[in-house]
Symmetry: C2
């Protein structure tokens, strides 16, 4: 049974006439006839007694009419409801971000974006790059911002902002402002865990220069940027960290940047999305905004 059938039926019922119904619905009278016949056949009962040129609804028709309008309205509601949420820019955007972008990049971007779209609220989930990448790949998240590419054909990567990794040590620790590559392997070193984008990027750059993690004098592996920073501050060792993560500490003289000759550890933060997912309007707006930032 088609909704159209019900619409035709109600029109006939209300007009007490096939031809008037046909005018109302911009159909021809034979079409109305055949529709009514179809419904009668489907329900296995007559709906109208054709008495001369008058039409009298049967008991069955009365029952059908009393409930058909309900169904028609219901369907219209669904359609309009879907049209609404299709263009609804409200709701919550959940961003999965790795430590560095989640802490130092996203907040200012979100705050700027919110000036234009006040009705969109945000939730930022902070996990390491690997975890975020997996969550996007497994459809637990629609949008992620990470500090390293973990290739996955399901995912769409787009650069957001440039960053740089630098070697930092405690300001209190004496030492040269510039060292050479070979000095790195000797110094006590602090590392992030394996899923970290910072660590992955660092490893990539070092191995490009012939140094493996195993060559380093690793004093400790810590689960967050802050933990590493604190450890460095306390003089436990040096570490390679995002410039954005240590900017304030450098300014305040708590940490000290040590230049490594010939080592330039540029990296990007990436916007990741699932290639095959469709996004609610609010997400599309925000992602477009991020893409624009990425191009600039």
């Amino acid at each position: 049974m088609d909704i159209h059938h019900l619409k035709v039926f109600t029109a006939v019922f209300k007009n007490r006439s096939f031809s008037k119904a046909s005018e109302q619905l911009s159909l021809t009278q034979p079409t109305i006839s055949s529709h009514i016949k179809a419904v009668e056949d489907e329900l296995g009962c007559k709906l109208f007694d054709r008495v001369g040129r008058t039409i009298i609804p049967t008991k069955e028709a009365e029952l059908l009419y009393s409930r058909a309008s309900e169904i028609i309205e219901n369907l219209e509601e669904i359609k309009s409801g879907i049209c609404r949420i299709k263009d609804d820019i409200g709701g919550e955007i959940i961003i999965g971000a790795s430590t560095i972008p989640g802490t130092y990049i996203i907040p200012s971007i979100v705050s700027e974006f919110k000036k234009k779209y006040k009705e969109i609220s945000f939730q930022v989930i902070i996990e390491d790059s690997k975890k975020i990448t997996d969550m996007v790949a497994c459809d637990q998240l629609l949008l992620g911002i990470v500090g390293a590419k973990m290739e996955n054909r399901k995912l769409e990567y787009r650069p957001l902002v440039e960053d740089e990794l630098i070697l930092v040590s405690s300001a209190k620790a004496l030492g040269r402002k510039t060292i050479s590559m070979k000095n790195i392997t000797g110094m006590p070193f602090l590392l992030r865990e394996e899923g970290s984008g910072t660590r992955k990027t660092m490893e990539r750059h070092l191995s490009g220069r012939g140094i493996d993690v195993k060559d380093l004098n690793v004093v400790a592996v810590l689960g967050s940027t802050d933990a590493v920073k604190e450890a460095v501050k306390s003089g436990l060792g040096a570490s390679i960290l995002s410039r954005v993560a240590v900017r304030d500490d450098l300014k305040l003289g708590i940490l000290r940047e040590v230049k490594v000759k010939g080592l330039n550890m540029k990296r990007s933060f990436y916007i990741i999305t699932h290639r095959k997912r469709t996004f609610p309007k609010s997400y599309r707006l925000f992602i477009d905004y991020l893409y624009l930032k990425g191009k600039a």
Copy 2:
């Protein structure tokens, strides 16, 4: 949008799979694909993200699902509701009957019928034959029992029981037990109104013997059988009435039958129905019961 579409959609939604839905609905997987596509096109939005072999409903699909089941249930309810009332033998039967059958015939028939079908209730409307005939013809009544045929191509007439009109006078009035035709015109006469079946039948029989109503010595025209009976009892005049209407009065000796030589006023009571109307189950049962009586 077809209800079928909605059923397919809900099956896919619940199974999170096109092929499982196809098995469940005994359709092929391509059919499911095309149905979902049709709904997506109609609503102008994606309903499922096809991510590898997993299927993820969009926000729109969530909304649609939450309301589609409602509609489907609604429609099932309608169908079952209609099936129920189609064979529902409960409810009320309204019989339009003219004076004589309504008073002397119908009550006993109804009472007998009710022994078998206790759940059917009856309402008997008593009007003269003409009025009842019109009401059936104009679809205000589905069933009538009248004492005379008023031809109308819309109507189906079937005999119910035989009756006989007889000439009656007051028992107190002296007079012969048998008279000849020519004596009729002289005597003071009481008549029913023009719409009366009794009157119509009487006129037909008399005119068959060459006597017109205008030839009679009409003392009064009264609107009901009882009124005529009372008038006859009080000696105002004679009248031609149904045997069934005066049976008790004859037995009790309150009224007296006067035989008219060569005048035999047999008549039938008729069941009338509208040829083009359909009847609820209860009516069909009762009408069949009446037809059976009519044949016997």
